[in-house]
């Protein structure tokens, strides 16, 4: 039975929104206890994130890594593996991209260096994710654990390189030894929106064109100088590509089949271990890509790894879940959470509310969103009971839980 659109709306939108609302309600109570008016605080959050040109630009800038990481996490989920290692994969990707940019950026034309950097970042992230995939498929190592471990290892490797071979020569010369790399050549900067607008010959701001109000702000985001860079367009294109990949290609079909039923996939002749490695590798590639885009589009140099990854690996999980693990759902979801982070900072500035409140709220959102899955499933079951037409056999032997031994067999 095709689920009615109202049911879909409730399942896909209402429950997650209720989860977010609940988390914010909790935050509101905390704010009240601190003597801060929650309405004021939250409105400063919303206007900070979406109210002005700069807020919007920052929100979209933050949405870029979240979107890319979220896409990767969705791929892993669809393939039946859980990737908690996007933090590490992003760091490794950013590192490799930086290395490429610093080493080759001078010799190569900018566009080629950028493409090389993106590919390099994706490959590095892919390898990092692939390790967990391989360990899971061949040695039955729990991927949740191995990814958490690899996160910690990636951070240390980054420090090791940034204090050693990759350190900015200027730091060595100055004797300050701050662990960051040299700046990548300017030619490797991914163009910003304003650069793109200039290329298209658009120079005037909203005032000159005669667009007022909020629309004007939006217009200004697109044409006026801000940190918003073409990585955003890149990420949106990637989301569409991932959608096509998962639902329109044979490999996507295989990943989804393995994710939903390993036994049937194996029976049907699919190479399950290889598909698991592939899902994890692809997932890592997108996290690595997020690292690459952060370097090429925003930071232009590698520094403290945890400041580059900035919790995107974890927030990306919420983004993916909130987007219902659907690539196209992840686009608005990442913008929403980008706004949450930017707004959280703004709230700190406006109301002097510690920014860590946002971290707690994100944690609660994760907890509430994963809990609603259960309610959704129950609702669906109840709907099925109400539809006598679609018969299922209750006496069907309960399918034994998937043992990974069989997967690796």
């Amino acid at each position: 039975m095709n689920r009615r659109w109202s049911d879909r709306l409730i399942d896909n939108l209402l429950y997650p929104l209720a989860a977010v609302l609940l988390a914010f309600l909790f935050g509101a109570v905390i704010l009240l206890l601190q003597g801060v008016n929650p309405l004021e605080a939250y409105s400063s959050m919303v206007t900070g994130a979406f109210g002005s040109k700069n807020g919007l630009a920052d929100t979209l800038v933050k949405a870029v890594p979240l979107m890319l990481v979220g896409l990767g996490i969705a791929i892993a989920f669809r393939g039946g593996v859980i990737n908690i290692g996007a933090e590490g994969q992003l760091i490794v990707g950013a590192l490799f991209t930086t290395w490429i940019g610093v080493q080759l950026g001078e010799q190569l034309p900018g566009a080629i260096a950028i493409i090389l950097g993106l590919v390099g970042g994706a490959l590095a992230g892919g390898v990092w994710g692939g390790i967990s995939g391989y360990l899971k498929a061949k040695m039955d190592v729990n991927e949740i654990l191995s990814t958490v471990m690899l996160n910690a290892i990636a951070i240390q490797i980054a420090f090791l390189l940034l204090r050693g071979p990759m350190i900015d020569p200027a730091e060595l010369a100055a004797g300050t030894n701050i662990p960051h790399s040299a700046r990548l050549p300017k030619t490797t900067d991914m163009p910003r929106f304003t650069d793109l607008a200039q290329m298209l010959g658009i120079t005037g701001g909203a005032d000159e064109v005669g667009i007022g109000g909020y629309l004007g702000e939006i217009y200004n985001v697109l044409v006026q100088p801000s940190r918003l860079h073409s990585g955003f367009i890149f990420a949106v294109i990637m989301a569409i590509l991932v959608y096509i990949f998962l639902w329109r290609t044979t490999i996507g079909y295989r990943i989804r089949a393995v994710g939903l039923n390993r036994h049937a996939s194996r029976y049907a002749g699919m190479n399950v271990p290889r598909t698991i490695v592939l899902s994890m590798t692809l997932s890592g590639m997108f996290a690595g890509l997020a690292g690459a885009v952060e370097i090429l589009g925003l930071h232009h140099r590698m520094f403290e790894p945890t400041a580059v990854s900035a919790g995107y690996g974890f927030t990306g999980i919420v983004v993916a879940l909130f987007g219902k693990l659907h690539p196209l759902g992840i686009i608005p979801s990442s913008i929403l959470f980008g706004g949450l982070l930017v707004g959280g900072d703004k709230m700190q500035r406006a109301m002097q509310v510690p920014q860590v409140l946002t971290v707690a709220i994100v944690g609660l959102i994760i907890l509430f969103v994963v809990s609603t899955d259960y309610l959704v499933r129950r609702r669906q079951n109840r709907r099925l009971s109400a539809e006598p037409d679609s018969l299922t056999t209750p006496d069907e032997p309960a399918s034994p839980s998937i043992t990974s031994a069989e997967v690796s067999a």
Partner: protein, 316 residues
Amino acid sequence: MNGELTTIAIILGIIHQGIRLATPYLFAALGETFSQRSGVLNLGVEGIMLMGAFFSFYVASETGNLWLALLAAIIIGVLMGLFMAVVSITFQAEQGISGIGLYLFGLGMSSLLFKTMIGSVTGITGFSELQFCVTDSFCLADIPVLGEIFFSHSILTYGAFLLVPISVWLLKRTTWGLKVRSVGQNPEAADSVGVSVNRARYAAVILGSALAGIAGASLSISLLNVFQENMINGIGFIAVALVYFGGWSPVGVMFGALLFSTISALQLWGQVLGLNISSNISVMLPYILTIVALAIPFRRAAQPAALTKPFSRGEN
């Protein structure tokens, strides 16, 4: 090189420190052992430890009563555990992810509370080292070699190690332990003989979380005697890995904890002695070791068969 620092002194120092450092790992990892034995992967240990560390520190600095502080850590551990249990057992949420949510929540909340309720980093007087004095002039801690290694730790360190046989006893020799082991291995079978699977899991997760709370407290009111934002710094995640590392047995977990803490101690001594090992490499070492250990095949057999799998009777 100063002549007074003999090889024996160094070795003693490393062992002594290894034992001390094992304290938080042990509490957290033994707690996680209960949780995982019952079939629940609680990845939120780090967040619970942070909350435990904060609350015990806060109570200690307000009241000066360390036992009350410890109680506060246990209570907050129980509450966090209850939260995790509701989400992952009743609402059957994906455990790896709900754990991350709990971690972020604990991280955010402990920092927030610290900022609003304490504000600045201060020290307190925590649990001091026991001396085991037989007479006024003679304490066991004065015994050369042995005294230094074994008789100069805080009560929480002894508690952590005492918890190992207690855990074995709880799991192996009690009706409750039998239930926990069974619901983690074959919840359907346990259910069929009238064991409430979810109740056993709730109990295990909550007990585990209470221990994680103590683990946090062991840092803030015993080992370090300060609280700082994000002060747990990954110990909680290592504790989860230690359970796999130790093959789900309390004794195995203990050896894992000792191994990890000794590596940390070794690294510190390496620097003091001027051995030029990058701290990055030695910090990495435990993680690499864990991954290697996880890949060793014989350990897999011991994994509770129903780990991370929510239980429902097929109804509803």
